[in-house]
């Protein structure tokens, strides 16, 4: 019994626990402004937000590259200010800008890093080889990194973070500058790491499809604060559901649908826009509805709610605060024009 208690206590500990976390740079910029959030073990957590929102600063406080000004930050229960070295031992970090040593080979970069992370000598070469294979760099392992392309450096960067098999991986815009297939490869390895080793992953990105694809939960930061936090599903629901546009053979005079189908938000006779919570399920119902009213449907298109909308709504910048105030109408206009 006591065994179980101990275990459950361990797995209950949050991977990352931030409480009123604040960073004020010397020139009194409040880069991170009293944020609180908690990342569960085994979770893939996305940190989104416009340029200058404070994402990188938040990550730097975790990896102890910059001191926090106030608040609390625990990594697997360990206080970053009190035990920085222990904290770094549990973390892997891919910085936003390239930081591999271009005057060394890829293999050497991994070797040095493995040594500095105290990877067991017996496992070292195996791990390096795996990391290189994982990131598809085996063939060029003994080339100087300065002869690599930007994307290859990026992949090496990720390989480096994998060598010490961290419990928590901090990825600051890892897929920046990657071609679509490398990007997919990186996504695959992130998921694989998460599933096979239970690695907790905190990722920042400006690519909403990436966040949607990978993250269990997302926090959108804006001006140093967390504007909203939730699962991608929750967030999308927050900006409303999917919009379905039906083009009809004859004008329709119906003013409303049964509630469970959706709500008409725009009706210009032959083209009707319907707001639904789940577009795919609503399409057959809508088709049936018109058929039962004797109206021919010529085509149906769907405009799914996506994280871009969520981002636009919450990620305000100092300039143009009101630009995206009425996100629904923006999206409606977009739908109209794109017809």
């Amino acid at each position: 019994m006591s065994f179980d208690l101990g275990n459950s206590k361990m797995s209950d500990t949050a991977a990352i626990e931030a409480e009123n976390l604040t960073k004020i740079y010397r020139d009194s910029i409040r880069a991170v402004d009293g944020i609180s959030f908690s990342v569960k073990q085994g979770e893939i957590f996305g940190l989104l937000g416009p340029n200058g929102a404070g994402k990188t600063t938040t990550i730097k406080m975790m990896i102890t590259l910059t001191r926090l000004t106030s608040g609390k930050l625990h990594i697997l229960g360990v206080d970053v200010s009190e035990h920085p070295q222990e904290v770094r031992e549990m973390l892997g970090y891919v910085p936003q800008s390239i930081s591999v040593d271009v005057d060394l080979t890829a293999y050497e970069n991994l070797l040095i890093f493995a040594k500095l992370s105290y990877v067991n000598k017996k496992e070292r070469n195996e791990r390096i080889r795996n990391a290189l294979e994982y990131m598809d760099l085996s063939e060029r392992a003994n080339d100087l990194v300065k002869r690599y392309s930007g994307g290859m450096m990026r992949r090496l960067e990720i390989a480096q973070a994998l060598v010490n098999r961290p419990k928590i991986l901090l990825l600051d815009e890892p897929s920046i500058g990657l071609d679509p297939s490398s990007r997919k490869q990186v996504w695959k390895s992130i998921k694989q790491l998460n599933q096979e080793f239970g690695t907790t992953i905190l990722i920042t990105t400006h690519d909403m499809s990436e966040a949607d694809e990978l993250c269990d939960r997302i926090a959108i930061m804006s001006e140093g604060k967390i504007a909203i936090l939730g699962t991608p599903m929750d967030l999308k629901r927050d900006v409303g559901g999917d919009i379905i546009t039906a083009n009809l053979g004859s004008p329709c005079s119906v003013v409303s649908f049964p509630k469970e189908v959706g709500q008409i938000i725009n009706n210009n006779e032959k083209s009707i826009q319907i707001l639904t919570t789940n577009g795919e399920e609503a399409i057959p119902l809508i088709a049936d509805f018109f058929r039962s009213h004797g109206i021919k449907v010529e085509s149906i298109s769907i405009n799914k709610a996506n994280l871009d909308d969520v981002f636009m709504k919450y990620a305000k910048r100092r300039l143009g605060n009101n630009v995206y105030k009425n996100i629904r109408s923006t999206r409606r206009d977009f739908t109209r024009h794109s017809r």
Binding site: R26, T66, I98, V100, K115, S117, L144
Partner: protein
């Protein structure tokens, strides 16, 4: 702190430098040009005109240890520039994000500087042989010289890193380096004996660490005497420890 881990990390950081040198050793050779010119032009000239009261030794013999110390001083005092450059390309970020203690990173970097110092010493020994300068090539003497060179480079490169944490840019470090090397070099016994200096400068040179380093190297390479050696080495050790400790606390400032 775990001592074996500490040592391992320091050596790894130095290994990083060694591997870079292996890939591209051009810099090592270009670094040898300046001391070579000092020996060839300055040394040979003053050797010929016999203007310096250098006792039982020829001027070339006198100046060789001085130029050796000078070239190691240059390398280590400007080592902060290398570190600032490494900060700019993200390498310092990467190093500081590893679990290795920061002091081991700084110590490793100073070991890296001393590696370059050792190459410099080798180069000057080769040059001295080539020019037929009579210096003692006994094993204990040579080992002693290398020990002093290593400690000297560690001491001043860690001082340089300490300064770099505050200066933060290459330009400023360049300025600081030049402002330091000139008085250190000319107010020392590297290229002329202390006895010919004006009195006030003699006092300066007594407080000048470079004088002690030159003295130690000179006594080994020319006279084969060691009585000052323990004190010199101790002094270097103490200062190295102080600078490494301070620099490992401040190095994070480089990232801000």
């Amino acid at each position: 702190m775990n001592v074996t881990r500490f040592i391992k990390s320091s050596i790894t950081v130095a290994e990083m430098e060694a591997r870079k040198i292996r890939h591209d050793s051009a810099e090592l050779w270009t670094r040898a040009i300046q001391p070579a010119l000092w020996l060839l032009i300055f040394g040979e000239t003053f050797n010929a005109i016999r203007a310096m009261p250098t006792g039982n030794f020829s001027y070339m013999q006198f100046i060789t240890p001085g130029i050796l110390a000078q070239s190691v001083l240059f390398i280590s005092i400007f080592y902060g520039i290398t570190v600032v450059w490494e900060r700019d390309v993200g390498i310092i970020t990467k190093l500081l994000s590893t679990p290795s203690p920061r002091s081991s990173i700084v110590l490793g970097k100073s070991l890296a500087a001393s590696l370059r110092g050792v190459f410099q010493a080798l180069m000057i020994f080769a040059l001295a042989l080539l020019l037929g300068v009579k210096i003692r090539f006994d094993l204990p003497d040579i080992l002693g010289v290398f020990a002093v060179v290593v400690l000297f480079a560690m001491c001043f490169s860690s001082l340089s890193m300490l300064l770099a944490s505050y200066m933060k840019t290459r330009d400023r470090m360049m300025g600081i380096g030049q402002a330091l090397t000139m008085p250190l070099f000319f107010a020392s016994n590297a290229i002329y004996p202390i006895s010919i200096m004006p009195i006030w400068l003699q006092y300066v040179s007594i407080a000048n660490p470079l004088s002690y380093v030159v003295d130690a190297i000179r006594s080994m390479l020319l006279e084969g005497t060691y009585q000052n050696l323990p004190v010199d080495i101790l002094a270097l050790l103490v200062f190295t420890t102080i600078f490494v400790t301070l620099a490992s606390r401040t190095i994070k400032k480089l990232l801000e």
